[in-house]
Amino acid sequence: MTMTQASQEQPESPTNRPPSMHRFKNWMRRPYARHVMIWTVVIGFLLLPLCWLLLAAMNQTGAPASEIMQDIETTVFVFTLVSIPITAFVFAVLLYSLIGWKRISSDEPPMQENPAIFTNRIGVVLWTVVTSALAMFLVVWGMIELAQITANSYGTISANEQPGGNQSVIVNVTGQQWVWTFAYPQTDGLVSDILYLPVDKPVYFNVTSKDVIHNFWAVELGVKIDANPGAVTTAGVTPNKLGTFNIRCAELCGMHHAYMETEVRVVTQEQFDSWVREMGGRRTS
């Protein structure tokens, strides 16, 4: 057959491979394939409540108390949801291996009767594509969330650009072995051991340490930043819920590290102002 004749006729090239949907249906006809798929779905549904249970554990003491914490919880929810399919599949294979494909517990090695599968291109490619796609999704989600949380915690604003005045509260957090102290530079030298914050107002934290590395963790507000000696790190948040929440130290800092706890009290603006007056401070900026 000449080349011109071939290009004119263009017959369908003969093949022994059935089209892919057909191959998939054939594969699903195998009993183990159906069973493993069913078990994957079942285990997946059994794992699904975890998405809510994880959040329930995180919310036991009043969280979320800010947008940031809300974003964190949404991230945890989505990540759990996205991790369930692969996890369910692996667990299904483990279980089916024990129950479906059976076991022999003899002293002597059994006769070799298992299929010699050296590789399966479809399986490998599918797994690579799916796990990579999931990982990419998680990365992209994470980066978008991180950008959002950085914006919500005013992370891109350096200490001398922090707007003062009535629009925000600035708190200089000092960690010292083993007590947190909070200075409000906008008042006249007010320093406190309990953190009072007005609700729905941006707060800028300038965090440092007088001695070793501590970590300032306002648990329900979702704020966490190391307190380093010799440096000032910044964080920020806008609390949107009234209440009393926990501040803990999350970096081992010596003997009384476990006792380096204090409270953050998110109160109304009027209560905050009267507290400042009570403590002898005046707003100066």
Binding site: N16, P18, A57, T61, I68, F91, W101, I117, G142, A250
Partner: protein, 652 residues
């Protein structure tokens, strides 16, 4: 790959140096006892001499700390290490070379422990099989020490209504527990199995550097008392990460930790070089890279990562020690240093180090699976790709431990990317394992049970690692018990159970006995159940907001901690049962043949007990590895019916 082709045995006359005296010379007299005498003796001498030179009451002009104790302790530690190695005979080889004395073939055979019986385990023996057993015993001892501390920790955390130990002591037992377990897990598979099995698996007679092999194990033995002594001198009250500047506030026990790491890093570096050279140059004829067992790849990868990572650890501890003792200020911010420098140096080791633990255990599972599933390893090339991917990325992810330090917030993005990416090659290894389980009727013996435990734990550990790799989620989880539960699931859930499986698998080759099936599996499953209780509820405590390294906490965490403590006691009992099974089987178990698992791998083709030269004739490899199983019946069926289905579907 077990066919041994007929070989041409070449013999040549190699002119031997004259034999001076008995074979081995002074090495005949040196053993662990003389090592102890040398170590303790030189330690005492060094301590006394140093205390004469330091004016009494001398205090550091910067920190007002009394320095006499520090200098004396440092001298004692150095004296112990050098004296112990001298007493063991580590310097005999180099000194003989300097004096121009060649060692003869008989000397080398003596050093390898020929005809020495049990006493060769107490000497500076170069035979890789002896070194493997020595590593196994040291692993048990260090793991036991770490486990004892774990029981104390959980007792404190379970007794929520009181302080069982003082806070300072609690801080030091968590740090010591951490470093002891890390050391135990690093050597758990690469030590015993890397030394004993790898040379046989590649068809070699010994490692590339037998004397360095002995050096690496005895350096490790020298490091252990440094760590234990620190507990009696105030402890390391700083966690195993020993962050500066807190480490400069700790009692002098901190020096014990720093010396332990400095010596351990040398030991590991030497062992890495040894393993890598052996694997690269001493594989049997015909063992191309596509015929090399996956375990060899795993050990090679772990050695490579250890080689580039451990110097960072050693360096960070040398600088830390210098800050403490010599008034430098590398990490003292008030004098111009930087705390972030320490954190970076430490985590540059800290992350690859966890892969040094995980990759060998994953690799040993991939050795176990084909033997007990009687089918080939699923996609050998994919497994190699996974290991290579992990190694390539392992050095690029360290700053995910530093997301919350405020060091360089812009850098959090690329590290988040690289950390998420590393989950992909790890996923390759999971696929290889479940692919090997796929459609196989398993031969259910103790080593295989470990595989199920490991895969289950690795999935949970891996998924929770994904939360931690994400910076927003880490903003809640960093420094909480969630992190502790995650790394225990990876290092203990995958690492320890994998080590149990590997030891159960190679027990017949290393000891000639088979590990008792019944009690071994009771031990393993007891540990498994306790493990889920302990660290599952630890995840809950972390989610609720319990910080790590605290001995007292709010009552909302009480229930999770009670459950964790009960689980921990269960782990303790299970580990003791497993240990009892090992002891019983080793001493009184029935002898087995050279290949009780009917494996096709080279190391099982030797008789048991393995002769000194491993193989009488070096083997030649002609087959691909893991050549088990019969042709897939579905393949034939598909080929037979292909034509019919196409016709009925109307395709033409």
């Amino acid at each position: 790959m077990s066919s041994v082709a007929p070989a041409h045995v070449h013999s040549a006359e190699v002119p031997q140096p004259a034999q001076h005296g008995k074979p081995g010379g002074i090495m005949r007299r040196l053993n662990f006892g003389t090592g102890l005498i040398g170590g303790i003796g030189l330690a005492i001498i060094a301590g006394v001499v140093t205390s004469q030179f330091v004016p009494s009451g001398y205090a550091s002009p910067v920190t007002f700390a009394p320095m006499e104790g520090e200098y004396v302790y440092l001298a004692v530690l150095l004296g112990w290490v050098i004296g112990f190695m001298a007493g063991m005979g580590a310097f005999v080889g180099p000194i003989r070379w300097m004096l121009g004395r060649e060692s003869t073939h008989l000397d080398a055979e003596y050093m390898a422990g020929k005809d020495l019986g049990r006493s060769r385990y107490w000497k500076y023996t170069t035979d890789h099989k002896v070194v493997g057993i020595q590593y196994l015993i040291v692993t048990f001892i260090v793991f036991g020490f770490g486990g004892l501390l774990a029981m104390l920790i959980r007792t404190e955390l379970g007794a929520t209504w009181t302080e069982v130990f003082s806070p300072a002591f609690y801080n030091s037992i968590i740090g010591t527990h951490g470093i002891a377990m890390i050391i135990a897990m690093i050597i758990a598979v690469s030590g015993p199995l890397g030394n004993f099995i790898v040379p046989m698996m590649i068809g070699a007679r010994d490692m590339a550097y037998p004397r360095l092999n002995a050096l690496s194990i005895w350096l490790l033995v020298a490091a252990v008392p440094c760590l234990i002594s620190s507990l009696f001198l105030g402890g390391i009250q700083d966690g195993w990460s020993a962050y500066q500047p807190l480490a400069s506030q700790a009692p002098i026990g901190m020096l014990g930790y720093q010396m332990t790491i400095i010596v351990f890093a040398i030991s590991t570096g030497i062992a890495s070089v040894n393993l890598m050279t052996t694997i690269l140059t001493m594989r049997a004829k015909g063992m191309s890279w596509s015929r090399t067992p996956i375990f060899v790849y795993g050990i090679f990868a772990a050695s490579l990562m250890g080689l580039y990572a451990f110097p960072f650890y050693q360096y960070s501890q040398i600088l830390s020690l210098s800050d403490r003792v010599f008034n430098t200020s590398f990490f003292n911010p008030l004098e111009g240093g930087s705390v972030w420098l320490y954190e970076n140096l430490f985590w540059l080791l800290g992350h690859p180090e966890v892969y040094v633990i995980i990759i060998p255990t994953a690799a040993v599972l991939m050795e176990i699976l084909p033997v007990f599933m009687r089918k080939p390893l699923f996609s050998f090339n994919f497994a190699v790709a996974g290991i290579v991917g992990v190694v390539a990325l392992s050095g690029l992810v360290w700053a995910h431990h530093m997301y919350m330090t405020g060091w360089a917030p812009a850098v959090n993005y690329p590290f988040m990317l690289s950390t998420e990416m590393i989950s992909i090659p790890v996923g390759f290894l999971v696929l290889v394992v479940i692919g090997t389980l796929w459609r196989g009727t398993s031969w259910s013996r103790l080593p295989l049970m470990a595989v199920y435990a490991v895969v289950f734990n690795k999935m949970i550990g891996g998924v929770t690692g994904i939360y931690l790799s994400d910076v927003p989620a880490d903003q809640y989880f960093h420094g909480s018990m969630f992190v502790v539960a995650h790394f225990h699931y990876m290092l203990m859930g995958a690492g320890f159970f994998g080590a149990m499986g590997g030891i159960a698998f190679y027990f017949p080759k290393m000891t000639g006995k088979i590990l008792d099936e019944r009690y071994g599996s009771i031990g393993l499953w007891t540990v498994f159940v306790g493990f889920q209780l302990t660290f599952g509820s630890m995840f809950v405590a972390g989610l609720q907001g319990q910080p790590r390294r605290v001995l007292q906490f709010d009552e909302q965490f009480d229930i999770s901690n009670w459950i964790s403590t009960i689980g921990a006691y269960t782990i303790g009992v299970g580990t003791l049962i497993f240990l009892g099974a090992i002891i019983f089987s080793w001493r009184d178990g029935p002898m087995v043949s050279g290949n009780p698992w009917a494996s096709k791998s080279l190391e099982w083709q030797t008789p048991t007990p393995v002769p000194l030269e491993n193989f009488a004739v070096l083997p030649v490899v002609t087959e691909r590895p893991y050549n088990y199983g019969v042709p897939d019946p579905y393949d034939e069926e598909l080929r037979a019916h292909d034509g019919d289905e196409l016709e009925s579907a109307g395709a033409r």
